[in-house]
Symmetry: C2
Subunit: 578 residues, 2 copies
């Protein structure tokens, strides 16, 4: 039925047909995600909700905003993207997140947590300013509901005086189980629903902010959902409403229902990856160091497991903090714990570290505190696309005074950097991609701001590369050039900040090439160019251009954007032949 579904057809279906449609959607999602990777359990939990929303509301006239977007697959299947759904998360294919460019049914792009209520309010406010008449609905999970943006949006609901429907999809999970007092409060509300009692009384917090409150105990029951949404739709003329629905993450797929954390995000290929991950090295090394060093604490924002910190959290619960999806709060906790002499490690994906920019600058670095930022999934992240690329961190971190920025060339060096960090008494960021190898045999002692020379050339070309991916390309390029009789100096720029000015000043090479897994603007290459501006050397940067990078394979995306061994080789060979 999905193949030719339209809004009109869907609205004319019987309940039985709609339930069959849900099952079909569930099957398509499961088989596609197992093949292409993607977000499985969160999407399976919201199939009925999405079908009910499309049955009751009129999209795209009405507007539907998905928080983060991990629940938008059914919506995509219902809005003309069934045929291309097999391209989910592939290069040029259907995005795993809402994209305005992809469909008029996607009214607001998301990817980071907590933005949906603000976005829905802005759309509703614009509607009211323009004197138009449509409904605005935001769907948010209970994980995102921890984010401070929610409070800011709630606080301005009455002020803006624009009506929205907020659907709180409560499955008790972020990626990890949801934590915090708001979650506990939602559990009380859920219990009330279970006993069909007191929902009115306990809705009070939301009412304080101007929302009406209602709930659906079985948020995977299509008939109830349709009934309740129809009821609530009528209320939207006069008030904003929170509809709190309880869903089962991974619904309908036993493996997911039993382990929703492991099946939140599935990698391309289905089975768990066999490659070694930087996060594993982080976890193991911190566990080892924390045994002796009682000052070490680990902080995460709802991603303990994927950051490699499960063992640490089990072994040292009193020194472990997961605050839920509250990146800014997590950052300040680290800063303030450091003022009391502790040694906090804040592990986070590069893309989500963006949320803490001000707190890294003011709270950590402004006070010169020894917090270590463990910046995971740095560089191109692949299938999640534009909103999840970690290609800006070298730029936004390097501009912050007092911060040392380290980029390990492989897993061995990463381990040594973590050991180094334990005695480093100042702000430090270590950035690394997901997968790694113990690729380079050599690893000199880590000294802040000191690079490592891997190859000495003939004095004409020097290649400075930072991080495993960039250095691997540089290394392959240098080897190929050697075979062609061109001997190039290769330097592991393991610290992007401070620069190793001693090494830089001693470079005799006329051509200095930089390679990085980051955008050019403000990144490693720009730092080198600015430092070298006073001499007459030729600087050539291999870094990403000024654009948002779409989904695709890492190697392919890197090469397309000019960061590959081949392009390094070609530049030097062309220069030689000129």
């Amino acid at each position: 039925m999905l193949e030719n579904i339209t809004a009109a057809k869907l609205k004319n279906m019987t309940l039985k047909e709609l339930i069959a449609l849900c099952e079909e959607a569930r099957e398509v999602i499961t088989s596609t995600v197992l093949k292409n990777g993607g977000h499985l359990s969160s999407n399976l939990g919201t199939v009925e909700l999405t079908v009910a929303l499309h049955y009751v509301f009129d999209f795209p006239e009405d507007k539907l905003v998905f928080d983060v977007g991990h629940q938008c697959y059914t919506h995509k299947l219902l809005t003309g993207r069934y045929k291309n759904f097999c391209t989910l998360r592939q290069k040029g294919g259907v995005s795993g997140f809402p994209k305005r460019e992809e469909s008029p049914y996607d009214c607001y792009d998301t990817g980071h947590a907590g933005t949906s209520v603000s976005a829905a309010l802005g759309i509703a406010k614009a509607r009211d300013i323009k004197g138009e008449d449509f409904n605005v609905i935001a769907v948010i999970g209970d994980g995102s509901f921890n984010n401070g943006l929610i409070y800011e949006a709630f606080n301005s609901l009455r002020l803006l005086n624009s009506k929205i429907l907020l659907i709180l999809n409560d499955n008790g999970m972020s990626i990890a189980p949801t934590v915090g007092s708001m979650h506990e409060y939602l559990e009380i509300l859920s219990e009330d629903m279970a006993h069909k009692s007191k929902v009115e009384r306990h809705g009070k917090i939301f009412e304080r902010f101007g929302f009406g409150y209602d709930g659906v105990y079985d948020g995977n029951d299509l008939e109830t959902l349709i009934g309740k949404l129809t009821e609530v739709k009528a209320r939207l003329k006069t008030e904003s409403v929170i509809l709190h629905i309880l869903t089962k993450k991974g619904k309908g797929y036993t493996f997911c229902e039993e382990d929703p954390e492991a099946t939140h995000g599935i990698s391309n290929g289905g089975a768990p990856a066999e490659r070694e991950e930087y996060s594993d090295v982080l976890g193991k090394t911190l566990v080892r160091l924390a045994e002796k060093n009682k000052k070490i604490v680990a902080v995460t924002a709802a991603m303990t497991s994927s950051l490699g910190l499960s063992e640490f959290f089990e072994k040292y619960p009193e020194r472990s903090v997961d605050v839920g999806i509250c990146e800014e709060h997590a950052t300040i906790l680290c800063a303030s714990m450091a003022t009391e002499g502790l040694k906090p490690y804040y592990a986070v994906y590069s893309t989500f570290l963006q949320r803490s920019f001000d707190e890294i600058l003011i709270d950590i670095c402004g006070q010169n505190l020894p917090v270590t930022l463990c910046v995971d999934r740095a560089g191109i992240s692949g299938a999640d696309g534009e909103t999840h690329q970690g290609v800006f961190d070298l730029s936004f971190l390097s501009l912050i005074p007092k911060l040392t920025v380290a980029v390990p060339k492989d897993l061995t060096e990463f381990e040594k950097m973590i050991e180094f960090s334990a005695d480093f008494d100042a702000p430090l960021a270590i950035r690394y991609p997901r997968d790694g190898k113990r690729a380079f045999g050599k690893c000199e002692k880590i000294v802040a701001g000191k690079w490592e020379t891997l190859e000495r050339g003939d004095g004409k070309y020097a290649v400075l590369a930072c991080g495993e991916r960039a250095l691997t390309q540089a290394y392959m390029g240098v080897n190929e050039l050697r075979r062609a009789g061109i001997n190039v100096t290769l330097i592991n720029a393991r610290f992007v900040k401070p620069l190793d000015t001693e090494t830089l000043d001693s470079l005799e090479e006329e051509y200095v090439l930089t390679v990085e897994d980051n955008v050019l603007i403000g990144g490693f290459g720009s730092l080198i160019a600015a430092y070298m501006g006073g001499n007459r050397k030729i600087i050539k940067n291999f870094a990403y251009p000024d654009e948002f990078i779409p989904q695709g394979g890492v190697a392919e995306l890197m090469k397309e954007r000019g960061v590959s061994a081949e392009q390094i080789v070609n530049y030097i060979k062309d220069n030689e032949n000129r």
Copy 2:
């Protein structure tokens, strides 16, 4: 009494003496602020609270965190900084904000809103991890209480299970009157207090998050405060408490009590400034454009008046939004309103724009939406010091794809840029300092990414400068050089992004000098250096080094950091004489 005050002396004073101490503090604060500038009304409102805290608690063993820090003057007077208080906000003098480097009594540096609860929790958590025993107190105003960080901290209170005292200093004001539902809720609580009733019942929201609640109706009554703080101190052994106290902003100084918004921040010299401000031009121009263009909306985060938007808000209330101190929410509101075809202007101080880094990147630029960021107080901001310098924006904005970054050379050009922005269908940031002139007669038509050549030289030196302050220095330098017979090309780099590559490519000069009111790393000079890396020109950047810039006079701080006409002249003369 203040001159030789110590903790021991204070604790032995009678109530009458303590009240006299408060009056003395009030006088010192008032006379110093009228002379040096600073935050007057917020500090006058919390004199009694601070004295009571020092009477009841034992600092620095107990820890006191001030949110933002606009209320720390009395604390400074009581903790050994009376004698130097006459240097408040002056170069090398006492800071207007808490500074760990200044005193062991300042346990956490603040400056941006909403960080205090997280910081207090982190300090308390560290205390518990270390097995120590002291009290941690945060003092927060009701304005900061709107910020999303508060919710994130509240949400993790039970999770962290560390006890703190949170004093909510409620005077009904941020800088402007506080807005939003939390404020309305606080008003209900205040009314209850007035009638000495139902405080218990209405404390419910805070109790949900694990706080006990109590209130003091007259938060300027020293005796009551001491009694209540003593009571609450005993409770901290077993629970965290919010103490909600009602104070009068500007207490004891009639001018302030009557107009706390105008007296929140006082400029050096006391009387309102006569110089023209960029914010005035923003306000007038937007009011004019919005008359015809009904799509224009203005958004601020609790700073309507100081951003020049009062008239706009009065004239077009339906197109005006002040969301309180919620910078991230404000940014997303702009993005989402733009998805519906509106033309939002988000006006904000450069330093507070840092909070929205992720939302500018993902929500505005990721969706390529025509939001205009009006970035006020950019560059060195002067007496507020490290936490308020606007010297990073060119760097953190330039690295964001799709964003155009404009820097007007004077008020006339700023006005034309605002006019230009109204028809510009993409993300745009315009950054400018507080004070300006109509300094340069010439102003060519504004075209995105096109610079303006002000002087043509002899072909050896080109100076590229962006923004009024930098260009003024460059202009003076170029004039002086001309008098010395050296004719230098001078270019107004009115767009830092995109760069005017046509002009850059056509430069015949061997020496390219850049001048900016921003840090070097990632800023205008770095963009030029990276662009020019492939040729053999000499690039010389005049920009701020990699450090936090302390308080002081703007011109003096600029010159100390190498951005002045004199240094430009010296560089070129030295080069000529080499």
